[in-house]
Amino acid sequence: MNFEAFLNTLPIMAKGMAGIFIVTGVIILSMVLLTKLSAAMRNNKDK
């Protein structure tokens, strides 16, 4: 058992999970924008 190595990996866990949530957040935002933009463009076309 190597507790020191375990403790050293905890910042990697924190950075990794934070990184995934941040990237996912950006992707979600861009997907929402994308959907809204294309819906607005379709509405303009219909008019």
Partner: protein, 368 residues
């Protein structure tokens, strides 16, 4: 006559055990239907490389040539991702993009297992390679373990593909343990919006650009996944899309399993660490599932009563597609025959596919 059979006496007990393991993998693939496309070639390959003085491995052995040409340079995982991208319909995710957050939460098992592997004495690169079993995604696991030059590639592959096949057995007890009956009965309305073709075409391009900017190590994998999806959605390359989904995927899968077996030689595989890696692989899948479910429960604390999320869909955030979504849907129906969670869980499941690749890229950014 004695010369003809002289090689028989060269077989060691370790090689015999590996041949038995190969036979077991073939049995599981054929009789139990466990990931047969990978486990069968892997099992046969294990026998092939463990025959004494096998000409399949070694400097000029065909499996060594295939390994160098397709796995060592990460070509096979990338090609396979084109096929996977062409197979995935991201519409359920585009209908409700917020579901993607569960795909992120369900990658917790990767990082938890990384820490556990380090605790058990693996060096950081091997610990990260073992943790990536939790990506529940074969090509990503191969990509990361190979990039980090892990000596446990064979064991990692066996664990990753075995647990993917075992998702229907691994996930339900964890989900039941972490949820109440009432939570499992929560109904979620699914509102089908029509997603424009433009959105479907722009989606793979946008994802590639964002991921490439934030996690450059994973851009090749995400890019090939999204390239496959772009071929599918563009509407002018139906023939290529069909080829990517069927011929390309089958061809790469055919060689991938048997090529990985080049790393299943007795001296590399029969070590106490292999058992430990198999155990840690299970830990990764359990904590992925727990991460998704517990995150959904956390979100529920802030949602009004009529907007609560069924926490089981968080479990579908592991990348094992589409088994995980089916497990959640089935469990929902068991609790309430009129509770249909398939579309929501498929949305979460495909987001897990993207999130697992991002997680792999982040691991390479942090450690590679």
């Amino acid at each position: 006559m004695a010369e003809l059979f002289s090689n028989v006496t060269n077989i060691t007990w370790q090689q015999a055990v590996m041949c038995l393991i190969g036979g077991l993998l073939i049995y599981l693939a054929i009789k139990k239907g466990m990931e047969p496309t990978l486990l069968l070639p892997l099992g046969f390959g294990a026998i092939l490389v463990n025959l004494p003085l096998s000409g399949a491995v070694g400097e000029d052995g065909v499996l060594t040539v295939l390994f160098n040409a397709g796995v060592a340079n990460e070509l096979f995982p990338h090609l396979l991702f084109v096929g996977i991208g062409a197979m995935i319909d991201f519409e359920p995710l585009l209908t409700n993009p917020k579901l993607m957050i569960f795909g992120a939460a369900a990658q917790f098992g990767i990082f938890f297992t990384l820490s556990m592997a380090a605790l058990f004495g693996f060096d950081l690169k091997d610990a990260a390679s073992i943790g990536i079993i939790g990506a529940a995604d074969g090509p990503t696991s191969i990509f990361v373990a190979n990039y980090l030059n892990s000596k446990y590639l064979g064991a990692i592959m066996v664990a990753a593909y075995s647990y993917m096949a075992l998702v229907p057995l691994v996930q339900p007890p964890v989900i039941r343990l972490l949820t109440t009956k009432n939570e499992r009965r929560i109904r979620m309305r699914y509102q089908q919006h029509s997603i424009s073709k433009t959105t479907k075409i722009l989606f793979p391009i946008v994802i590639t650009v964002i991921t490439g900017l934030v996690s450059p190590h994973s851009v090749a994998l995400v890019g090939f996944l999204m390239f496959g999806n772009l071929i599918r959605e563009c509407g002018v390359l139906d023939s290529l899309s069909e080829t990517a989904q069927k011929v390309l995927s089958n061809l790469v899968t055919l060689f991938l399993g048997i090529t990985i077996a080049a790393r299943m030689k007795a001296e590399d595989f029969l070590r106490p660490e292999t058992l430990l890696i198999l155990g840690l692989g299970l830990v990764a899948f359990i904590f992925d599932t727990a991460g998704g479910v517990l995150f959904a429960k956390l979100i529920n604390l802030f949602l009004p009563k009529d907007k609560k999320i069924n926490p089981m869909i968080g479990a579908a955030g592991i990348s094992a597609f589409p088994m995980s979504a089916r497990v959640v849907h089935k469990m929902g129906l068991q609790e309430d025959p009129e509770n249909f969670l398939l579309m929501q869980s498929i949305g979460v499941n495909v987001s897990g596919q993207i999130a697992s690749v991002i997680a792999g890229g982040l691991i390479l950014n942090l450690i590679g």
